[in-house]
C-alpha cells in the first residue's frame, strides 16, 4: 500500500475510518474485558485478540452478510467485525440470557446463526471440518456463498487441518482459510512445534492458492481477502491466507508468559495495527487527534452501556439447566 495521495477520495477515507473504528471497537471491548475479569465480573477462559484486530476487520470487509464465518475460541474480534451487537457479546461474557449464546457459551463460544456466524470453536482445528461441511452444503445447493474459517498457527499441527485442506481442494469447496499466524500455540513457539514454518507453503501443497499477508496492516489484509473471496466466488476453489500477526497479550488470563521475551512483544507493538492505520490516516489528512479521541470516547460509551445492560440482564433459570441438550419436541 502506498501512502495516501494528497487528495483523498472521500469514499476511501470513510472506508478507512470504518476499518479504524472496527479495530478500535475490538481493542476497547477487550480492554474492558480485562478490567471486568480482574474485578471478577467475568470468568472462565478469556483469550484476547489485542494486536490481531487487523485480521478480523480486514477479512470481514471481503465478506457479505450472506457469507458464512467459522471461528475459534479467540473470537471476540471476529464476532464484533461480523456485526454481532456489542450488547449481545458483552452479555455473553457475563453469562446472561441476553448473550449471543444465551450465556451458555461464554467468551469461547459466541454464536449468531442469523448472521451466519457459526461460532467459536475451542478445540484447536475443530472448526475446520465444520467449514468444509457448510461450504459443501452451499455447493450442493448451488448457493454462491463463501465460508471464511479462522484458525491459528497451532491448528496447522493438527491432523484435522491436513484432512480438511485435502478435502477442500479435492472437492473444490468455496472456503477462505484464514490462518492467524501469531507465532505461538499457547506457549509453544512456531519453530519449536513445526518442522516447516512456512504455513502458506504447506497449505499450497494441497493444490490451493495460498500466500502470506502482513496481518498487522488492515488494508493489506482487506486487499488479500477481497482478491481471494472474488476468486472463490468465481469458482476458484479454496484459498488460504497466512495472516502474519501477533498477540500483544498473554494466551489467556491465566498465562504468566514465561515462554517469550518482553522485547519480542515490544518489537511487535511498534507495528500495532491501529497505530499503523491511524498514522497513515493522519499523514493523509483524514484523521485528527480530536477525531480519534471522539471515536474512542464514543466506542467506550457504547461498551459501557453494554456493560450496564449485561449487569442488569437476567440469567438462565436453573430449571432450564438441561435445555438445548436436545431440540424441543415438535408441538
Amino acid at each position: 500500500m502506498s501512502r495516501a495521495a494528497p487528495t483523498v477520495a472521500p469514499q476511501e477515507a470513510a472506508h478507512r475510518r470504518d476499518l479504524l473504528r472496527q479495530m478500535l471497537l475490538i481493542r476497547t471491548f477487550e480492554d474492558k474485558c480485562v478490567e471486568l475479569y480482574s474485578a471478577g465480573e467475568i470468568r472462565g477462559f478469556v483469550h484476547l485478540y489485542i494486536g490481531e484486530e487487523a485480521v478480523a476487520a480486514g477479512v470481514n470487509q471481503a465478506l457479505t452478510a450472506d457469507d458464512n464465518v467459522v471461528s475459534t475460541y479467540r473470537e471476540h474480534g471476529h464476532a464484533l467485525s461480523r456485526g454481532l451487537p456489542v450488547k449481545a457479546v458483552m452479555a455473553e461474557m457475563f453469562g446472561k440470557t441476553t448473550g449471543c449464546s444465551r450465556g451458555r457459551g461464554g467468551s469461547m463460544h459466541l454464536f449468531d446463526v442469523s448472521r451466519r456466524f457459526y461460532g467459536g470453536n475451542a478445540i484447536v482445528g475443530g472448526g475446520l471440518p465444520l467449514s468444509i461441511g457448510i461450504a459443501l452444503a452451499d455447493k450442493l445447493r448451488g448457493d454462491r456463498r463463501v465460508t471464511a474459517c479462522f484458525f491459528g498457527d497451532g491448528a496447522v499441527a493438527e491432523g484435522e487441518f491436513h484432512e480438511c485442506m485435502n478435502l477442500a481442494a479435492l472437492w473444490d469447496l468455496p472456503v477462505l482459510f484464514c490462518c492467524e499466524n501469531n507465532l505461538y500455540a499457547m506457549g509453544t513457539a512456531l519453530e519449536r512445534a513445526q518442522a516447516q514454518t512456512d504455513l502458506a507453503l504447506r497449505a499450497g501443497s494441497y493444490g490451493m492458492p495460498a500466500w502470506p499477508v502482513d496481518g498487522m496492516d488492515v488494508l493489506a489484509v482487506e486487499h488479500a481477502a477481497r482478491s481471494a473471496v472474488e476468486a472463490i466466488r468465481e469458482g476458484g476453489g479454496p484459498h488460504f491466507l497466512e495472516l502474519k500477526t501477533f498477540r500483544f497479550r498473554a494466551h489467556s488470563m491465566y498465562d504468566p508468559e514465561l515462554y517469550r521475551d518482553k522485547s519480542e512483544v515490544e518489537e511487535w507493538k511498534k507495528r500495532d495495527p491501529i497505530d499503523l492505520l491511524s498514522v497513515r490516516m493522519r499523514d493523509g489528512g483524514e484523521l485528527t487527534d480530536a477525531d480519534f479521541e471522539a471515536m474512542s470516547k464514543e466506542l467506550a460509551g457504547e461498551i459501557d452501556k453494554a456493560i450496564v445492560a449485561a449487569r442488569a440482564a437476567p440469567t438462565e433459570p436453573v430449571e432450564d439447566l438441561t435445555r438445548f441438550v436436545y431440540s424441543p419436541e415438535p408441538s
Binding site: 451458555r104 471440518p129 461441511g133 457448510i134 491432523g159
Partner: protein, 329 residues
C-alpha cells in the same frame, strides 16, 4: 397382511432401501463416507446407489474420519440432511472429537441456535474373525454423551425403518449396525417404512425372567429363551432398540411382571450399557426384584482373531440361559 404383500429381503437390502427412499424423498439427503460410492460400501449397503443418484449425493471420501464426520456436522448445521457412514465403530474414534465436541455440543453451547440434524451410521460388533481393531461394541460409550441419540436396529423392520425417522430428528443420531446382521434374511411388507425410534420392543413375551438386549445379541438371546422354554422357564426378551435415550418404562414394566432381569450386552462389562440398565432397574424397580440383576457381557479382552477365542469372548446362548436360571433360582 397377506403373504402376497410380503417380500424377501436381507438386513443389507433393507438398509439400502431405507437410504434410497430417503434420497428420493428429500433433496437435502446425501450419503458420504469411505467407499460408499464406486466400491458400493464396505459392507455393500450402498451398492448401486452411485449409479442411481450420482457422485454428488453418494459421495466417496478420503480416509479422513474427522474431516468428513465434521463436514457432515457442518452441512447439517447449514440445512442439509447428511447420512455419514463410518466403516466400523473402531474407526469412529478418529472422529470422536467431532461427534462429542461438536455434534453433541453445538446446540447447547450456541444457546439453541445450532441444530445438527445428522445421521451417522456405522458397523459394530464381532463374530467375523476380524480381530482387535474391527470388532468392538463401543455403542455403550456413545450412550454416555448427552445430545445424541443411539440406535441399534436388530431386525429387518428396524433396518428398513429407523433411518427415515432418524433423518427427521433435529439432533444427531448414531445408528449402529451389527456386522453379523447384514446377511440376515427374512420378509418385510412391500410397503414397510418408518418406525418409531423411541421405544424398546418386547420381541418375545414371557413371565419368568426379563432378558434385556439389543443389536447383534438379540438373536442369541432369543435362542437362549427357546432353550429356557424347554426347561419350563418362560423368558421375556426385550430389544432396547434405542440405547440413548433408554425406554425405562418397557424395562420396568417387564421387571414388574417377571421380577428377574438378565442384561445381555456384547460390550465390555466394566462401565457398560448393561451396567447402566442394571442401575436403572435398581433405582426404579428395586422392590419388584426377586433376585439380583445378572449381566452377560463381552469378555474384557481386545478381540482375538481365532474363532474359538472370539466365540469365547462373546455372549453365548448357554451363558445367557445359565444366567437366567441363576436368576430364577
Amino acid at each position: 397382511m397377506t403373504s402376497a404383500e410380503m417380500v424377501k429381503t436381507t438386513y443389507r437390502e433393507a438398509m439400502r432401501a431405507a437410504i434410497r427412499e430417503a434420497m428420493q424423498r428429500d433433496d437435502r439427503v446425501f450419503l458420504m463416507g469411505e467407499d460408499v460410492g464406486r466400491y458400493g460400501g464396505c459392507f455393500a449397503v450402498s451398492l448401486g446407489l452411485l449409479e442411481e443418484f450420482g457422485p454428488e449425493r453418494i459421495r466417496d471420501t478420503p480416509l479422513s474420519e474427522s474431516a468428513f464426520v465434521g463436514a457432515g456436522i457442518g452441512a447439517a448445521m447449514a440445512g442439509m440432511r447428511p447420512i455419514v457412514e463410518i466403516m466400523t465403530v473402531n474407526f469412529s474414534l478418529l472422529a470422536l472429537d467431532q461427534i462429542m465436541n461438536n455434534a453433541a455440543t453445538l446446540l447447547h453451547m450456541s444457546g439453541g441456535q445450532c441444530s445438527v440434524p445428522l445421521v451417522i451410521r456405522m458397523t459394530t460388533g464381532a463374530g467375523r474373525q476380524v480381530a482387535a481393531q474391527h470388532s468392538h461394541s463401543l455403542e455403550g460409550w456413545y450412550t454416555h454423551i448427552p445430545g445424541i441419540r443411539v440406535l441399534t436396529p436388530a431386525t429387518l423392520a428396524d433396518a428398513r425403518g429407523m433411518l427415515w425417522t432418524a433423518l427427521q430428528d433435529p439432533d444427531p443420531v448414531l445408528i449402529f449396525e451389527h456386522g453379523s446382521l447384514y446377511n440376515m434374511q427374512g420378509t418385510l411388507p412391500a410397503d414397510a417404512g418408518a418406525v418409531d425410534i423411541r421405544s424398546a420392543a418386547v420381541r418375545r413375551p414371557g413371565t419368568d425372567v426379563s432378558l434385556i438386549t439389543y443389536g447383534g445379541t438379540l438373536a442369541t438371546t432369543l435362542a437362549a429363551a427357546d432353550a429356557l422354554a424347554t426347561d419350563g422357564i418362560d423368558a421375556e426378551v426385550i430389544d432396547l432398540r434405542s440405547l440413548r435415550p433408554l425406554d425405562d418404562k418397557t424395562i420396568t414394566d417387564s421387571v414388574a411382571k417377571t421380577h428377574r432381569a438378565v442384561i445381555v450386552d456384547e460390550g465390555w462389562r466394566t462401565g457398560s450399557l448393561a451396567a447402566e440398565v442394571s442401575a436403572r432397574i435398581m433405582e426404579q424397580a428395586f422392590w419388584d426384584l426377586d433376585a439380583p440383576v445378572e449381566r452377560v457381557c463381552g469378555a474384557e479382552v481386545p478381540m482375538p482373531y481365532p474363532r474359538h477365542l472370539e466365540q469365547a469372548a462373546l455372549p453365548q446362548a448357554d451363558a445367557i440361559a445359565s444366567a437366567a436360571r441363576q436368576a430364577v433360582g
